[in-house]
Structure formats: structure tokens, C-alpha cells
Subunit: 963 residues, 2 copies
């Protein structure tokens, strides 16, 4: 799709989206974008007069009906917008005649959609037609529509038909069977029922015409009741038709038609209804708005995303939730995923907590379905559905079926394996409670969710007697590119976290609501033995790092998969799954969406293990480049944006933010016609508040650590925390004037280790050692390899062989062999293997006239330096041939300083290994440690890595240190 | 379903089906039953005013559209019948007010559906409303509808709306997108297009009203154009509304709407159209009718089934065929199966050969799809689809998907394995050609079908080097209860037959149309090597009997499956598959439908191998009791009826005939709402003509060997054979007056063998031997067991052990062991184990004062006789203890005669074994051999078995013999 071409007709103002040209090729995408609603009903932005290939839809929360393959779907409800205008016998339609002017506006402040068209009919009559529609936020059952006509250059007969179309369709399927219909004063009513779920709907409509005399009548074509008016329109006269529609279902009241007819008689006129709607919207925005200044696209796009969430959230119903595509499209059939709890919910928790509670109560009401699912799969407790609808039973389709005669079916495994949803819901319950202190709800509903899902985990984990660990095997983690993995870190840690909270909740309930505690324990059959079992699982669940490690393996064996360089696949317009195949992609280290990083993000809010800056850095560096951020999951960009902001990667954070914020407005993924990306919209709020606003909960209240994007001059929002509103009005920190670049007298040279500092040949060393170890039948893996960081070749080999007996000759041969493998591997090294920030720092140093040496224990250092293309930036090289004693002996660095002609005290060593820092210190040099404090904490300055590092900053820090 | 209750409202006259009461519970079933059509269009018998849960449908031949899971389906077309009548503001509907009189009639002579209703509205106005509809057989594009109103007891305002409903649905799915619509003089038109296949439809309607003045207008509600009239109806005045609809699709003409509008202007009035329709029907019935006298139910039901076939057969189109459920319902989505060629086609071949040709040409036109299927599966040539639609590509669904959340998917294997369809089509092509001598079509189309499918077989068979046989592995045969079998006899023999004919056709083509022969050989890449290969396959294909054997094993290993006694499951309302499970039933000797018997039936027409009377008897006796004839396949009863008629089982034949003939009229299988059982309807014609009429082709022309059912006094029909009509007017053979039962002086005693004569303990002997053989590790099977028939225990054992060495003691022990097993097995013998006819014969003998002895070599004979409950009918017993020398020595029978006190020449021996007959003859007795001539041909009288045997007949035959 040519984005430039498609979206040039959009103008973003603070509150209004303006489309100033009609583009038939974008028809279905724009229908999604111009969706309106009020949390009860959502109506796509289809045209009143219809258009070929349009996908008009009105969805009502909770109105689902059966459908093959995907079990149930939101039923498209009778279309209340249908309006046919005939001018002198010619029907107004945009694909005939001529569009002289076109202007469509979605006003987010009031949830109103306007359209103004100047149209010239095929026989040359020109007319202005204005349409307005809204779904009242003041009364969920009220819909308003207005049409105004003004003849420009003719007098003539005009006929208007205003209908409710009882034949709506879900891509061809009509879920409704007509029961009855009839006429009322100035209007009509329609009664229909869903075919299988047997939900009744009643609509009533009243139409009034002003500005002229007309012959009006009502016709009750089966399933298509129609009010029509014929009149003689005089040039420049304005005729207004107001249509007010009321709608109820049998989930609201016993007799929907009666309720619709009754309400209709009690309503004020169109203008009054519009004012009531506006007033209600104003209240909502008071709490939920985000003000951004300095970036009008961001300012509008953020509001647009929040608007889409607000019109999808049930305000008067806690038996329903927000579908993945909200109420705006047919995608995912109205099914509800973790998208709601993890991505969307925080916005509501912090700005509309009563709506957040509705959404969570939905999960409480669907516990029976979750229990049936657990029973079906042979477990106990409650196992939430990956895709959920009314009952909470699992509705994820089993198959993606081919349309062509001989295509293969693709099995979808999420229903069976993507089990983290149960922990995600517990996570949401916990955080809702933390933010609201809503003890009442927690003891009545939340506790049961957390505890019954804990029981599920208790039955789901398996104890491995060999490793003495609890394991969770056969899952799909957050990253859906890998469909059958064991001990997924995201899942395992979320389960552990979940059980930790379950124990707390169980105790809290006993302490504060003993009666409820005992009732619940009896209902769920929880005994103290169970709680002990949970403690045991918490203690012994498999998780592939310890507190002071960094890189977390996504699941057991992930690091053994084929590695990938995604840049080699650019440019592309398809997901990596489409490129590598559904089966094939399982074999690669490529992620559809963050998994370990997602875990870190979720643990970030309260600083839970394993979230910390070092872990974040290490895992970001590893996983971010391996994530299919453009065409993988639309859930990814907002999370990457937040973490990038945390890491100070402002520009990248903003890029990801825009990718998410415009996903629908600019149809970034080519599927906006299927509906709004609800999770992405929720992620946007989190990006702005948690990422750019840097909000963390510290000392029991939200505190901002802002990292505003470059152009933003102001960021303002409100958060509700434990009964109080906290207002944040953030401005960028005043720009830092860079110090003049002057060489510090204390420092005239730098000595860089190679592996892990300038490049990542550590990986090639690992691969070479692994090959050697495999050939020798010696157990060895990435974890074992960690111990070799900064250790010489011989010492490494000694560590690997342990107490196995080898002759000296054999040891020599093995060293040689490993080196051959390594040399083979590094033949492919290029400047692409330089670590982020390396070249920039070297260039800064040369500009600052600081000398540069390499101090690497490797005998291949020269080769590597040449292949990296930095030989001309380097003044001296100390390598494996230069000295006898390896690091941590100071010899190598002293040799390097000598080569540079500088005293050790004038040199800074850049090292990533404990032994290297020790060597630098032993040599009497300054040291910069790259990596976690546990490893390089002895250095004068510790940095995560070189990315974005400025020499002046290092210099300043060292200068400060030396004072 | 309570049949009595449901069908008491039906009256069958010769030509008219009368329903005299409205039964809402039967709504959808009756919609199917009252379907009308003309071979272009079929319209279900839904009510004009609609009714809740109705399934109105109009299908047009060839109008398919995409749908998930089943790929494509016949699209329900816009409903041309919609008519709304409002009386004084109250809408006429059968579920409100009161039905004072109701009479619906389907007139088969003219294809007209009438309905007369006297209705009292809720506010007590009484009105007569008559409806008529027809689809003109004279012009496929013309549909007629009439509605007549007469107020009985009131004067008042009546409003009629006559519409075309552009929102038809396939169980909720609307395949049409509205393109345009408009008004014409006294009517309107509608233009729609299928969503995916993009077939356009155009309908035009003209409505005329007579009998009163009315205000008429046309309204073009989107997709629902409506003509309406309001008038003041005076009591006893008759008002008539005639609606004539024309319909075209883009498969007929380029501009369907234009064609529909044009035709409409050229049509005469309703009454003239009706007359033209009637005249055309008269011509059709002249050739296709069957007259039955003496049985009014049969007379009507047969015509009804033929009518349903006639209205489904394409008359002007050879690109389409008859779907399994004709054009009368949604079942099987309009897909085309072997039902058409094997069950339906003979009716057309012999009475409407041009329609038969259309149906076969459909297969010619779908050869490209069949080739794609072959290619997809890795074969060459043409592999026809098990389920076929427009393109001939395979459209059998892969899955039967559960509707409940946790149900299991069931894989449907027919697309992959039910490959006999290709031979079935070749079979149909061949028989069409035989009957019509249509050489032109054969050389242009038929030959290509037969040859390209032969090429497929050539690539599909596998040569087993060990057995030196061609095998066909991994198939589903005609019997679909067994889903993965090897060397299915039906398939293997049909393939062999197919290749035999392919060789003939190839030669015929070369001899008669050398140019076409060479073109085709070049197109299909057939070389003389291929023909030789076919001959080799014909010669060496695996088939489990030889010319002079009888019982054919359904597939390799069938006899090893668990045996079943279906009577033990009675009464039941479900198929055996539902009882034993889709997986489970594979393990049992139970058939969904005839398989070996189907093969015998198909080979019967031309007396091809293995069809002969003995084989038929043996296989009938074995397979018929193991066939789920009531709830298995609706394809079964007609075939069983024909074979039962062949076997002289008149009563049973008639039972099966009725089961098939009334399958829809009395909804025998509970699924008539899904549509007419087309194959059953075709089978009915075959039952009447081939079964009861006993038509066989002898000396190149059809010859009758009638077996009329008991009440039938006349059976009359016509057959077209090689250019000539043959009329058959058959009457029952005059009833045979039974001879007085007088004992013949020559015969005073009977001696019955037990096994295989009175009971089937042969099976238990077999099982006992099998167990012994298994324990001893000696190869043994049913086939080997055949050699033991009538052989003593010791001799049997000797045959089994062959040249293996055993001591005498071991042999004694084995005999004892086998006997123990046998005694265990026969403990369960009961009177149910008596063979058919046995008791009846014994009783006749006692009545005729003929003495009865048992002459069995078994040492368990007394036990068996007691368990069978016939001890009191027997005068003497000679068993394994009676004499030393076993049969064929005469000793045992001589002993028996002695016990009876009769000379041997006064005794008749009943035996099923060669050795037994020999023994009887050696004893100087009369002998009756039961079984095939090869086995018991030495006997004086040979019978298949005792079923239905009359002593007087045997006596007469023996008397005649002795003269």
C-alpha cells in the first residue's frame, strides 16, 4: 500500500480527523477508522446510502451467535443508518454522478461523525447533502442520525427512504431471523432474534422532516421497515430529516421491542439528545484525556486511540469485555484475548476505574467456562480461554482452513497451549486492586479468579525429579512464532508471580474477610496443603537465570535455534512467518512479539524480578533485533517503545510509538478493514504514560521520570491512584549545551578489549568451543560459556575439560582445533558485527585527539580488526602474541600503553570482563566496565554498553571521579 | 418421530399428493416434499407469506458460490414467492388467527403446487386465500404465481405486497450482493451477483390484479423490490393477483437483467403459460411414467420419485448435473456424487436419453478438475472428485467440525480414498452407450472419460511382487463404515471391469474413428504399452475369489473383523455408526450399504463376473444380515430390494422398496428437511423396472422376468433401447393352487445334517479350529476352513496339520482341545441360530407325517439339538457316537434310517457338504443339496438353502426326478 497516496487526504487537528476526499479504494479501511460508539453499541463508518463492497456493521456488546469453525461471533446487528435519497428519479450514490465537494469529520470530543457532500447527479442537478450520526454516551440505547439537503441549482422532486435494514451480515452470514415488525407514529419498529443464541433485539425509529411539506408514509417490507417521504425541493431551501433510533436486546430487558418503543416516546428532540451526549463526553475526557504539545500528529493520534477504547468499553454491563478488534470490525469475530487485560486495561485502571472493574468482572462471570476448559483438558481449577466470548468457554478455532480445493489445513494450537492467559488475568486483577484498593471487589470476585487459576497452575506444572524443578512443558509463550516449547521464561515467571500473589491474597482474605475466605476455600476446595504446594512451586519452578544473571533464554533450547539477521530480509512487506513458513519459523531465533522483554515490562511496574536495568539492557540487545517488529504482532511496537524509552533510546522509542499510534489511522499493517487494533491502542496509552512519562509506582504513588520525544514540548495527563487523582504536567528537561570537546590532561589514550566491547566475537568463540566440546563428547552450553568471558584460550579449554584427562599434545591439538573453527567463523565478520555505538565512540575519540589501542588476548585480533573495517581508526594493537601472561595480569594493557607511548595513568581501558577490569586496574589505568555491575562493578565507570555513549560524558565522569 | 402421527394428513392419489392439515412441526420436511421445478430452477415448498423457522429456497442449476469448509455450494437465489397479505391491518400468517380449512396439493402431472386456506383473522374476519405456483417446463426462465382472495364474512381493506426477496440465505449465509434494481410497468427488476463466483442474476416481475380497483405502486427498498396494492374487498368478491417472474443468470446470457426484462414483455398471460407448461409435462410423462395397479401408495410414490428426478435434471445445459439432494434442499450443499451416475442415471438412459447425455457431458466438462485432482494426489490421468461441483475439483470437506467448544473434529476421508467414483462414471458412460448406441457422443466425449480415468487407475494400482498381484490399497469402498481398507472387492473388480472396457473402447475408436483415436491418444499420451499394461492389470488384479467360488470377502481382512448380530441392537433409531462410533465401527463386520452386493448388482445387468445366482445367494446370505439397512445409507434399500426380488424374496423386496419409495414422503430417515434423496429416487426406478419387472438385457434387448409384489395387479412402463421404445405391460403370474399335502409313497423319512443345514455351527467349528491352529502356530484361515466342510473332526485336524509331525497322543489332545473350545462356543447356541426356513420345513414335515432324523458326524449333536430347541421335532438322532466310519461312508445315514425304521430308499438326506451328499447317495437315499452346484451338484435336488422352501415343492421335484 502506498501510504503517502492513501493518507494524503487526512488532516489531524487536536480533536478532529478530517478526510477531504473520497477514495473508494480505502472504503473498508475508512469504515473502521470512522467507527463511532458508546460502549454499548459500535457502528462502523459506512455510508448511509451504501456503496458496493462496503462492510457496514453495528455491533452490540455481548450479542454473539453461533458460527462454524470459530464457534461464536459478534453478530452484526440490524443497520440503523440506511438512507436512500432519490433526486428527480436518480438515486444519490457516490459511484455515479460527480462529487464536487467532500468533507468527512470525526469529532472525538463528542463522538460525532459528520459528512458534507456536494453532488452533481448524472442529469446535472447539484445538491448539498450533509449527514451527522452519533451513538449517545448519555443513554446507551439512543442513536441519532440527521440528514440535511439543499438544492443548489434546481427545483425538483426528492424522495427519501429511511430504513432499518434487518438483513445485516457477518461477511455474508445473517445471524438474525425476523420475528415481527410494525408501524408507529412517524416511524416503525423491528423485532428479530439471533438464530442460535436466541437473543432478541428490538429497534424503534422515529423520523421527522422539517423545512418543507412532504408526503410521508411507512412501508413494512419484511425485515426492512422503511419510512419514506416525497417532496418538492426548491433551490437553496434547506430540508432536514432527523432519525432517532432506540435499541434494546433481551440481555437488557425482557421485552426489547416494548422498551425501544417506550423509550422512543420519552425522548426529547435530536438537538437536545446531541447536547446530552456532548456533556457526557466532556466528563469522560476530563479524566481520560492526554494533552501533547509540539507534535500535532501525536496529539491527535493518542486521543484517537483513547477514543476507540472509550467507545468500546462496557459502561453498564460487567458480563462483557472489549474484543480484540473492539466493536469496529469483523476481525477475530469479537473474541476477547489477553489484549484486554494486559494492553487495554491499564488505561481504564488509571483513568476510568469503574470501567476497569466491569472488564475484570467479565472474567469473574466466565469462571464457569474456564473451569469447563480445565476439566476438558484434565486439569483442576480455572483455565481461562485463549479466545473467550459469552460463556468463557474456549472459542479459539482449531483450524485455519484453506479456501482452495487442495490447500492444507493449518492447526491453530493457541487453545491448547497459549496458557499464560490465566496468569495475565491474575496480573490484571492484582494491579487493578493495587491501584484502586477496591477490597470489596477483590474479596467478592478478584480473589476467586486469582485462587482458582492458581489451582489450575498447581495441576498444570510437572515436577521433574531429575532436575528437582517444576516445569511447564508444551506451551506457546507470548511469542507465537514458536508453537511448542518447554519452560517458556515468560510463562514460568508469570506463573511463579501469580502463585506468589495467590499466597498473599489467600492470607489477606483470611486476615480481613475470614468468612469469605472460608466460603471460598470450601467452594474451591483449597486446603493449607495446597498453599504449601504453591510455595513449593514458587520455590522450585524452572527459570533459566539467577538473580544476578542477565540474558534470559526465551525457552529451553531457544539459543540452539538457527540465528537470524532480520536486516537481511529488508525491505519486506510480509511477516517473517510468511517468509519462513508456519512450520519453518519454529526453527529460528525470530520473535513475533516480545516475550522475555514482555516479561521484563510486566515486572517493571513494581520492579519485580527479573526487572532491572542490566537485565533489560542485555535482553534488549539480544531480543530486540530478533523481533519481527514491523509485520509480526501489532502488540509489539508499544512495548518496544516503552522499553526503548527506559533505555534512553528516545528516537527509537518514538519510531515504535508512531508505528503503534498510526497502525489504524495509516493502516500500517494492511488489515485495518478488519477493525481497530485494540491492544495497540491500549499500548499507546502505556507508551505515553509509562514510557515517555516514565511513570513508575514508587513509595506507593505514581512518580514521573519523563523521557519526552524530541519535539514534544508538553505532556499532560491524570492518573487515579488509590482514591486520588494525580495530575502530571511534564515538560522536556532544558536542553543540555554540549561542553566544548577538549582533551582532558588526565586522559590521552584508550585501550579497547575487542570481544564484547567493540564486537560480539564472543558468539563465535562460543560456537567454536561448542563444536569442539560436542566433538569431544563434553557437556557444554551457553550457560557454561558465560564462565569463559575474558578468559584465555588455554584457560577456557581447561575450564571446559574439567577433570577429564588429556595429554598436553591433545590439549594443544584441541586449542588449535577450536581456533581453526573460530577463524573459519570470523571469516564472515564484517562491519555489521560492530556493536552499537562503537564506531561513533572511536570517531569521537579521534576528533578529540585521544589515541586508540586494541588490547585483546586473542591471537586473531588483527584479522578481526581488519574485517571490522576499523584498522584505520586504531593506533596500536596488543594481541595474543604480544605478551605471555593473559588477563587479569596487567601485561597486555601495559604493552598497549607502551605502543601508544603513554603512561598507564593517562589511559582508559574499555572492558566487558571481570578479568579485563582487574587487568586494567592492576596496570594503574582508568577503567570503563561494560555490562552488569556484578561483572564489571569494579570499574571506575559502568555502562550497559557503548550504544549512544558520548566521550564527553565518560570524560566528565572520570574527571569527577578523579577529583 | 411418530410416523403415524406425522403422515396421517397425507393422501396419495394416482397423481396428486394431498396434505389436508397444516402441521408446523413438519414445516421444513414439507418444504422439501412440496418442491417444484423444471430442471433449471427448483423451489422448495415454502409458504408465500413465510413462517418462523421456514427454510425457503430457490436453486438454479450451476449457480454455486464459495463457502468455508465445503468450498462451494448451490447459492439460494432471490426468493420469487414472497407475498404479504394484510387484512384490515392484520397480516395473514398461519401462526396467528385460526385456520378453518387447509388443503395443499402437489399435482405431478403438471408440476403445480396449489394451496387453499380458509383463515379467520385474530379480529374475526374470514377469508379464502388460494395460491398456485409453477416453474414452467415449457420455458425454463418463466415462473408463475397466482393468489386469489375471497372475503367470506366481511368487507374491508386488503393490502397485498408482492416482492422478490434479494436476501435469500443458505442457512443464514446470503451469497448475493445487490447490484441494482428498478421499476418497470406493473413490476420491477432486481440485479444481484454472487459474492465470490461473481455470477450475475437478473429477475423481472410483472404483477396484475383483477376483480377490483386498487391503488398499486412499486417500492424499491434496497434488495427487496415490492409491488403493493390496496383495495376494498367486498364479501364474496374474488380478487386475483397474477405474478409472472422471469429469471436469467450470466451463465445463460451476457446481460441477465436485460434478458429477464425482455422476456417478460414477450410473455402471454398466466393461464396461457400454465397451459404450455401442462403440455410439456404431458410429453415427458408419456415416456417416463410407470403405471402400477393394485397398490395406490406404490403407484403414487413411484411417480413422486420420478417427478423429483425430472424437475432436477438439466434439460438445456450439459455443464451441470443433479446434486445428491436434487434442487430441493441444503443437504450436501448441491454437491454431485456417484449417486447421479449409478442410482439416478438409468432412469434417464432408458426414458429420457438426451437428459442422460447432459448428465454425462457434465463429467466430460469437469475432466480438467479431475486431472487437477489426480495431479494433486500424485497420479496421472483423471481422478474424479468424490464430491464435485462446477469445476470438477474435489469439494468433499476435509472435516466434520464440532459445534460444541470441546468436541473433536472428525476427518472425512472420502476425498482421499473413495476413489471408485472414477470407475462408476466409466460404468455409466458405457451403459449409456450400450443403451443408446450414441457413437457420436462416445467418440467425442465418452471415450475421453473412460480412457483418461483408465490412465488414472494405471497410476493408482500397485504391483505386489510377492503375490504377483496388482493391488489397490488405502481405499473406502462402497460401504463407508470402513474407512481404510485394502483390496476392496467392489473397487478392484470395478477397476478391472473399467479397464476391460477401456481396452474395448480404445480398439473401437481406432477401428471406427481413427482420426479421433489418434488425436485422443496424443492428447492423453496413450501408447500401445499402456494398453498392454491395462491388460496386465486386468489379468493380475487381486480379487478374492475365483470363478467358481461364492462368498466374496468385502476387502482383505474383513472376515477377521468382529462379527455382529444386528438384531441384537433392535429396536434402534440410530445408525450403527452412531452406536459403535466412527472409529469403532471399522472393527466390525457391519456395512453401511451394500458393497459386494452392490458389485453383484452392477455386474448383473450384463451378467458379468462374478454375478451368478449361486454367488448372489451366498453373498446375500452373508452380507444382507450385516447391512445397516434402516439407518445406514439411503442408497441401500433399493439395491437390496432388487436383489431380494432376484432371489425370489418377494416380501422382503417389497419391504425394502417401500423403505426407499417413502424415504421422503414419510421422512423415514429423519432428514428429509435437507432435501430429496435423489439416489433413492433413482433406485426406486431401478427396483421397479429391474427388480419387480425383472428386466435384463438378453440377446441385445430388454426382456422382463417379472416378480411383482403381492398386491400389484399390473406394472406398465416403457424403455428406450437402441433407438426403439419397448413397452412392458406386466401382470402377475396366475396364483399357484397348492397341492394337497399328501405323503408321497416314495418318501417317508428325512435325515438332516446339522451344520450348514439346520444351523450354522460351522462358524463355531471354524472359530474353535482357528483358536487351536493359532495356539499351534499353524497357518489357518476362513478359506482353509472351507475345505473342512462335512469332514470329520480327525480328518479336519489332519488337513490342518498337513505334513507337520505330531504324535498320536498330541493329535488326540488337539482333537480334545478343539472340541472343548467348540463346546464352550456352542453353549450360547439358541433357537436364534436356526437357519432361515429350518423350523418351517420341520413343521411342514411333521404336518405331512414325514419322520425326521438328524444325521450329524458331530459328537455334540445332541447338545446342539437341545439348545436349538428342536429336540421335540426330531424322531431319531445319529451322531458322532453312532458309527465308526465318518461321511462319505454311508454308515451314519444307514444308522439313522434304521432308527427311523425305514428303508434307505424311503429317506431323503439334507446335506450341505460334498461328503454328505456322497454318503447319502452311497446309502441309496434321496438327496437334497444345499448350496452351490459346485459343492452339492451331485444331489437330486439343489437349493440355495432352506429359506422359504416348501416341502410340497421338494417332494414334487423328487417325484418328477424319480419318474
Amino acid at each position: 500500500m502506498d501510504t503517502k497516496d492513501s493518507f494524503r487526504h487526512f488532516i489531524y487537528t487536536d480533536w478532529i480527523l478530517i478526510e477531504n476526499q473520497f477514495d473508494p479504494s480505502q472504503l473498508q479501511v475508512r469504515e473502521t477508522i470512522f467507527t463511532i460508539g458508546n460502549g454499548y453499541v459500535g457502528t462502523r463508518g459506512s455510508f448511509e446510502e451504501s456503496y458496493p463492497h462496503a462492510l457496514p456493521a453495528t455491533f452490540i456488546q455481548g450479542i454473539y451467535d453461533d458460527v462454524p469453525v470459530v464457534y461464536t461471533e459478534l453478530a452484526n446487528c440490524p443497520d440503523w443508518l440506511q438512507l436512500t435519497i432519490t433526486i428527480e428519479g436518480e438515486r444519490f450514490r457516490l459511484d455515479q454522478g460527480e462529487i464536487l465537494a467532500y468533507d468527512r469529520q470525526l469529532d472525538l470530543r463528542q463522538g460525532i461523525l459528520h459528512r458534507a457532500v456536494r453532488w452533481r447527479s448524472p442529469s446535472n442537478q447539484t445538491i448539498d447533502i450533509n449527514f451527522t450520526r452519533f451513538a449517545s454516551l448519555a443513554d446507551p440505547h439512543v442513536l441519532g442520525q440527521r440528514c440535511q439537503l439543499k438544492a443548489i441549482d434546481f427545483d425538483g422532486i426528492v424522495e427519501i427512504q429511511a430504513s432499518v435494514n434487518g438483513y445485516p451480515e457477518n461477511q455474508g452470514f445473517n445471524h438474525w431471523e425476523g420475528l415481527d415488525q410494525g408501524k408507529i407514529d412517524q416511524g416503525f419498529w423491528l423485532q428479530s432474534r439471533t438464530r442460535n443464541s436466541r437473543i432478541e433485539i428490538g429497534l424503534a425509529a422515529k423520523i421527522s422532516l422539517s423545512g418543507t411539506q412532504a408526503l410521508c408514509q411507512v412501508n413494512t417490507t419484511p425485515g426492512y421497515p422503511t419510512w419514506s417521504a416525497s417532496f418538492y425541493l426548491k433551490a437553496q431551501n434547506l430540508v432536514t430529516v432527523d432519525k432517532i433510533v432506540t435499541v434494546f436486546t433481551s440481555q437488557d430487558v425482557k421485552s426489547p421491542v416494548l422498551a425501544a418503543k417506550n423509550k422512543l416516546t420519552q425522548l426529547p428532540d435530536y438537538s437536545t439528545l446531541l447536547k446530552e451526549n456532548e456533556a457526557t463526553w466532556q466528563q469522560v475526557w476530563q479524566d481520560s484525556d492526554i494533552v501533547i504539545e509540539g507534535d500535532s500528529t501525536a496529539a491527535f493520534a493518542v486521543r484517537y486511540n483513547l477514543f476507540q477504547l472509550l467507545i468500546a468499553a462496557p459502561r453498564h454491563n460487567d458480563q462483557v469485555s472489549i474484543p480484540a478488534k473492539t466493536l469496529s470490525g469483523f476481525g477475530y469475530h469479537g473474541h476477547i484475548f489477553w489484549d484486554t487485560e494486559i494492553f487495554i486495561l491499564p488505561f481504564f485502571i488509571f483513568t476510568q476505574p469503574t470501567l476497569a472493574r466491569n472488564l475484570l468482572s467479565y472474567r469473574y462471570h466466565t469462571l464457569p467456562g474456564a473451569r469447563r476448559k480445565a476439566t476438558h483438558y484434565g486439569y483442576t481449577g480455572a483455565m481461562f480461554a485463549w479466545e473467550s466470548a459469552v460463556t468463557g468457554d474456549e472459542v479459539t478455532p482449531r483450524w485455519s482452513l484453506p479456501r482452495d480445493f487442495y490447500g492444507e489445513d493449518v492447526r491453530i494450537w493457541c487453545r491448547d497451549r497459549e496458557i499464560h492467559i490465566s496468569a495475565d488475568i491474575a496480573y490484571a486483577v492484582w494491579h487493578y486492586w493495587q491501584a484502586t484498593e477496591d477490597d470489596q471487589w477483590m474479596q467478592q470476585q478478584g480473589a476467586e479468579i486469582i485462587l482458582d487459576t492458581a489451582i489450575f497452575w498447581q495441576s498444570r506444572v510437572e515436577f521433574n525429579t531429575q532436575s528437582q524443578c517444576y516445569e511447564i512443558r508444551g506451551v506457546i509463550g507470548a511469542d507465537e512464532y514458536h508453537e511448542l516449547v518447554h519452560n517458556n521464561s515468560f510463562t514460568n515467571r508469570m506463573v511463579q508471580w501469580h502463585l506468589e500473589k495467590a499466597v498473599l491474597i489467600y492470607d489477606w482474605l483470611q486476615d480481613n474477610f475470614p468468612e469469605q475466605a472460608s466460603q471460598l476455600a470450601s467452594k474451591l476446595q483449597i486446603t493449607p496443603t495446597d498453599i504449601n504446594k504453591w510455595r513449593d512451586i514458587i520455590h522450585k519452578i524452572y527459570f533459566p537465570i539467577h538473580e544476578n544473571d542477565e540474558l534470559i533464554e526465551q525457552f529451553a533450547g531457544f539459543f540452539q535455534l538457527k540465528d537470524i539477521n532480520l536486516t537481511e530480509y529488508e525491505p519486506r512487506q510480509r511477516s517473517m512467518q510468511m517468509i519462513l513458513g508456519v512450520e519453518g519459523i519454529n526453527k529460528w531465533q525470530v520473535l513475533k512479539q516480545p516475550d522475555v522483554l514482555m516479561l521484563l515490562y510486566l515486572m517493571r511496574q513494581s520492579g519485580d524480578f527479573p526487572y532491572n536495568q542490566n537485565t533489560l539492557t542485555a535482553n534488549w540487545d539480544y531480543y530486540a533485533p530478533r523481533t519481527d517488529i514491523t509485520y509480526g504482532s501489532s502488540l509489539a511496537p508499544s512495548i518496544h517503545a516503552i522499553l526503548a524509552a527506559d533505555l534512553g533510546k528516545s528516537k527509537l522509542a518514538y519510531q515504535h510509538f508512531l508505528q503503534a499510534a498510526l497502525v489504524d489511522l495509516e493502516d500500517k499493517r494492511g488489515n485495518t478493514q478488519d477493525g481497530i487494533h485494540g491492544a495497540s491502542a491500549g499500548g499507546i496509552w502505556q507508551t505515553v504514560v509509562f514510557g515517555f512519562g516514565g511513570i513508575k509506582i514508587r513509595n506507593n504513588q505514581p512518580v514521573a521520570h519523563p523521557h519526552l520525544p524530541p519535539n514534544w514540548t508538553r505532556l499532560k495527563f491524570k492518573l487515579h491512584w488509590r482514591g486520588q487523582w494525580h495530575e502530571f504536567d511534564l515538560y522536556p528537561t532544558p536542553p543540555q549545551v554540549p561542553h566544548p570537546v577538549v582533551s582532558s590532561p588526565q586522559i590521552q589514550g584508550t585501550i579497547f578489549d575487542l570481544d564484547g566491547v567493540l564486537t560480539d566475537t564472543a558468539e563465535y568463540h562460543y560456537q567454536a568451543w561448542q563444536r569442539l566440546a560436542d566433538e569431544e563428547g563434553i557437556p557444554f552450553n551457553r550457560q557454561a560459556n558465560e564462565a569463559l568471558r575474558g578468559v584465555s584460550r588455554r584457560a577456557s579449554l581447561m575450564l571446559i575439560i574439567g577433570n577429564r584427562r588429556y595429554s598436553d599434545a591433545e590439549i594443544e591439538e584441541m586449542m588449535e582445533r577450536k581456533n581453526q573453527y573460530y577463524v573459519e567463523l570470523i571469516k564472515n565478520i564484517s562491519s555489521q558485527d560492530l556493536l552499537p555505538g562503537a564506531v561513533s565512540l572511536l570517531d569521537q575519540l579521534r576528533q578529540a585527539q585521544i589515541k586508540i589501542a586494541i588490547g585483546s588476548g586473542s591471537k586473531n585480533a588483527r584479522t578481526v580488526i581488519e574485517r571490522l573495517g576499523i584498522a584505520d581508526k586504531v593506533d596500536a594493537i596488543a594481541d595474543g602474541y604480544s605478551v605471555q601472561k593473559p588477563k587479569p595480569a596487567p601485561d597486555l594493557f601495559l604493552f598497549a600503553a607502551q605502543q601508544l607511548g603513554l603512561a598507564p595513568s593517562l589511559c582508559v581501558v574499555f572492558e566487558d570482563a571481570t578479568a579485563g577490569i582487574a587487568a586494567g586496574l592492576a596496570a594503574g589505568m582508568w577503567t570503563v566496565g561494560l555490562g552488569p555491575g556484578e561483572r564489571v562493578g569494579a570499574a571506575h565507570v559502568v555502562l550497559p554498553n557503548l550504544a549512544g555513549i558520548k566521550w564527553v560524558d565518560i570524560r566528565a565522569k572520570l574527571t569527577r571521579y578523579s577529583r
